[in-house]
Amino acid sequence: MAERVLMKGNEVIGEAAIRAGLTCYFGYPITPQNELTAYMAKHMLAKGRTFIQAESEIAAINMVYGASSAGARAMTSSSSPGISLKQEGISYLVGAQLPAVIVNIVRGGPGLGNISVSQSDYFQSVKGGGHGDYRMVVYAPSNLQEAADLTVKAFDTADAYRNPVLVLGDAILGQMMEPVVFKDIAHRTFDKSWTLGGKRNGRPANLVNSLSLEEGVIENWNWEFRLKYESMKKNELMFETLYCDDADLIIVAFGTTARICKAVVARARAQGLKVGLVRPITVWPFPYKALNDIGRKTGEFLVVEMNLGQMIEDVRLALPDACRIHFHGRPGGGVPEERDIFEIIDHVLVKNKKGAITTRGTFINWEIS
């Protein structure tokens, strides 16, 4: 087995990208993802690859567009306000069918917000933050091992569909250190005959473009893109379930929040409380069907997020109407505490919802509270 190394999350993502064969990195500094750009400055150049600190986030995403058009494995990273600036570029990448990896180490918002941890970019990530009718696979790692593994995977997914892929982290994931193992990578090859590499052997000219004013062309493109999105839904969905078979209450959480919830599940089980966990690993595609199936056996659900309640809307869509959904959220830099989550489990399963919970951010029967 490869050696366990202790690294910072931002650096883990950078190292994983380098090992995945990243050839061009374009970044612009912003806390809490700075160590990623710094790691790339040091290690991309040392390996003779391209590192550019662009003049802005917008320039960086458009450099990704250019590099990807020429067949490079390209990536950019930023944090929430910077990712907002990149949205136009992401939409163009989809429109031009360009593979790329974008990393968002989410911080508190809206606006400039703060540099603390948040998951408030969920809607932007999974519902299309840019204009146009598009989808992209969004990976939400829960620990640094997964950050390494999913970053590697993101490049292949991007190439396989010729579509950008988002790695959705948060400030805890970016700033924390944890042991990680960099596994051997089976490098796949992808058809790059569409790239702009210069006309060789008299082949027809390639065009990388997201514009057509001809009647019906963009509509046709959209229908073709839809086939890719359907294929992603079918083939790229990833989620984890824990103790769902006999659970009386199931927590739904993603990313860093899910690891906090896992500790709560362990504590609840140790006390004989039947609590389970569903953790979307891809937040798009979302495990609608799996949740629906589980919701036919379990009545009580608790969604925990570091925001005002975003993924909970997808959980509501997924679950049968009869399921009751509770919520605990910490927006703008707050971190859910194990004891606050446990209090809700106790309230629902032990106290049978008698009495009141005064913890800010907790909503019993979320839709009607």
Partner: protein, 178 residues
């Protein structure tokens, strides 16, 4: 067993180095571990802190709201964090710089004359290693030897000459706690 350690001091006292070394040592000892710094605005002389979790189980939150062990390198850190910790917390105090006691009877205070120990070996900047040694002794979190071995892996090359004095300060801090 899970230990949640909060290390606090002023910038330049080696708070982050201490946390990083502890997390490395925990990893090499086969434990699960996380390290999380208070990041962002940092300056020499300003407040610095980080949290390290060392556990035999999978670790939930790397952000520690309620530490089981508090290491305070200076008076300001003691004043700030002591009222915030829970009953039973082990509070390791740098008695060289903090001229008062951990004034709560429901915590377990441990005093290490860290700067004095470090000065004996020629450099007060090693005070953080004395604190780490004292903490290891008070908690039994890791064997002293595993921290010694970890230092060998980190203090190499240009830093190699610092290995021996740091190991000695660590041991002295360890031995100073009964």
């Amino acid at each position: 067993m899970e230990h949640k350690v909060l290390i606090a001091g002023f910038g330049g006292q080696g708070v982050i180095v201490t946390g990083t070394l502890l997390a490395h040592a925990a990893m090499y000892a086969g434990k699960n571990t996380t390290f999380y710094p208070a990041y962002g605005i940092a300056m020499r002389g300003g407040m610095a802190n980080c949290t390290v979790v060392v556990s035999d189980e999978e670790i939930g939150s790397p952000v520690v709201a309620h530490p089981t062990v508090l290491i305070v390198m200076n008076t300001e850190s003691l004043d700030y964090f002591l009222p915030r910790v829970e009953e039973g917390t082990i509070v390791v105090v740098n008695a060289s710089l903090v001229n008062k006691e951990a004034d709560r009877n429901d915590v377990r205070p441990v005093y290490v004359r860290a700067n004095d120990i470090a000065n004996e070996y020629g450099d007060s900047r090693m005070a953080n290693m004395a604190m780490l040694g004292g903490m290891i002794k008070a908690t039994g979190m890791l064997p002293l030897e595993s921290v010694h071995e970890t230092m060998k892996k980190i203090l190499t090359g240009k830093l190699a000459h610092m290995l021996k004095p740091n190991q000695e300060v660590l041991r002295k801090g360890f031995d100073s706690v009964k």
